[in-house]
């Protein structure tokens, strides 16, 4: 088991190396010179050279890359061009809202979608099943911003139940924090819920057709017991996989959700940095988001061992 975890951990290194190389060189080789943008349109050649030197862009590109990677390994993600603050500090400052939003969406989506999927599988081909599947198909097509604005319009503008926009840190108290996360979590979570509900139904249907379910049923166990203890547990591997895959969706969606709801998290930081061409922040954030995604995949892979004892490494 330890050996497996170690091996899996080592396998993430090449992926992260590719991410670093890709991000660095693609942003550098993309047509468009950040120096020209920073120095302004009518900068002289000397001014351009000075900016270039200050940013370390006059050194050979390989050296720049190595300095950047070595710095990151030591926790130094570089310095923001505009605010002159360390990128790592800027990221830490914005971490709480994004982590809160991602986790609350995860909880909301999993808690609603799995019961919906189980229900749809239990009542396969009934009206309930059709409604759940209809929701799943619709959910895949819903842009985050549309759902977000519809929710704001209904629950904040018309009904006045929830705050329109903004984020309250956990330090302000549990309820204000939770209140500010309800609408964003649903907006961000709708596609995710659709994905989980769909795979839960499919996986449950497959398990429910197996012999041991018939045995459990015929020896008189209650339906709920069979459904939850026998079937759901055996259906869990694909469900957990999709929950993990969906984290990627959440990370992309976070950027848009934070803009719709005016949440000062990593997503806003990214958009602001991108619009200002503050590329050390952009590079650092892409690495952080990619690392988060790789880490989630790692956790999912390891969780299989606990969910399905037949899987041996």
């Amino acid at each position: 088991m330890t050996a497996y975890v170690l091996r899996r951990l080592l396998a993430t290194i090449p992926v992260m190396v590719v991410v670093a190389v890709f991000v660095f060189f693609l942003l550098r080789l993309a047509p468009g010179d950040p120096v020209a943008i920073i120095a302004g349109e009518d900068a002289t050649a000397e001014q351009l050279a000075a900016v270039r030197r200050k940013l370390g862009l006059d050194r050979p590109i390989l050296e720049q890359f190595l300095l950047w990677v070595v710095g990151m390994l030591q926790g130094d993600f570089g310095t923001s061009i505009f605010s002159n603050l360390p990128v790592s500090r800027l990221i830490m400052q914005r971490l709480e809202p994004t982590v809160s939003l991602t986790l609350s969406t995860l909880v909301v989506a999993v808690c609603l979608a799995i019961p919906l999927g189980v229900l749809a599988a239990r009542k396969a081909h009934s009206l309930v099943d059709r409604l759940v599947m209809g929701f799943a198909v619709m959910g895949f097509a819903m842009p985050v911003f549309l759902v977000g604005y519809v929710l704001i319009y209904l629950f904040s503008v018309k009904l006045g139940w929830l705050p329109v926009q903004g984020y309250r840190p956990l330090g302000d108290g549990l309820w204000p924090w939770a209140e500010s996360l309800i609408l964003p979590s649903f907006a961000l979570g709708i596609t995710y819920m659709a994905l989980i509900a769909r795979i839960t139904r499919a996986s449950m249907l497959e398990v429910l057709a197996q012999d041991f379910i018939r045995t459990a049923d015929s020896k008189g166990l209650s339906t709920n017991r069979v459904l939850l203890l026998h079937a759901l547990k055996n259906a869990s591997v694909p469900i957990v996989t999709v929950i993990g895959i969906g984290i990627a969706l959440l990370i992309s969606g976070v950027v848009i959700t934070e803009t719709v709801f005016n949440i000062p998290g990593l997503g806003r930081l990214t958009v602001d940095a991108v619009l200002k061409r503050d590329y050390p922040i952009v590079q650092g954030l892409i690495i952080v988001f990619a690392a988060a995604k790789v880490l989630v995949n790692l956790i999912i892979d390891i969780s299989y061992v606990f969910l399905d004892p037949r899987i041996r490494y």
Binding site: P14, V15, M16, V17, V18, V19, V21, F22, V23, L26, L27, A30, P31, G32, P34, V137, M138, F140, A141, M142, P143, V144, F145, L146, Y149, V150, I152, Y153, V157, R198, I199, A202, A248, I251, S252, V255, I256, T259, T270, V271, V274, L275, R277, Y279, V282, L285, I286, F289, A290, K293, V294
Partner: protein, 294 residues
Amino acid sequence: MALAAATSEDVVPPAGSPLARAATAIRRNPTIFVGALLLLALIAMALAAPWITVDPFKQAPINRLRPPSERFWFGTDQFGRDVFSRTIYGSRVSLIVGLTVAGIAGLIGLAIGLVCGYFRRIDGVIMRVMDGIMAIPSILLAIALITLTRPGLGIVIAAIVIPEVPRIVRVVRSVVLSIRAQPYVESAIAGGTRTGKLLVRHILPNTLAPLIVQATYVCASAMLIEAGLSFLGAGVPPEIPSWGNIIAQGRTFFQIAPWTIFIPGAFLAATVLAVNMLGDGLRDRLDPRLARRM
């Protein structure tokens, strides 16, 4: 039809007149039919834009923020521009982006996937690169690429293609891996078929069905990413009326003029829904193996 895998349905062709046959086909697979019909309607609308709309750029301050009415079907925005006209023109951007990205990513992905699946020596390296690209959230990669260059439709398309390619490569590669072990491929190799011909004539046709299905999903995802990019201010230039841009510009007056957001948003959702339904339907029709897994 030539692409369709032989299922029990194909063995007995439906009898009767062409009309009855079509009705049977629709009943068996209503998803393709509804999706295709919806998509065709949207394409027709996008093509007919100059004849059914007024000038989408014309500002008329006297008509600012009018709610939907008989004169302005979808209302007007803060500059008095007609939201109906802008929404119809916006469909052009979404359709162009969706179809072009699906086409380009499909071709690149097909080429890389064929090579990876067949030439095992370079497979490892290329697939690690694909894993790396897939680890980067696509919208982040796209906004980073776009803002470092001059904004424009071409750049938006390129920036969406890059993160979508690995999704196609994976599908094509997995098919190639399973096909190359088939006896008929081995006998073609033994018979001295050149590698190029082998790949194109014997292996490529097998990848087409899953490729087309995957390409429809890429098309849907590209439309959502494009709208998201424009919404964030990092997509097509703001003067082009794309759905994302219309929504982004409607944000300021959202509380008094929600139609500027809801209407283009609903059109986007309907378009993506149509493409997804087409994809689901094609998957059930072309790739029964995959359909059973979902």
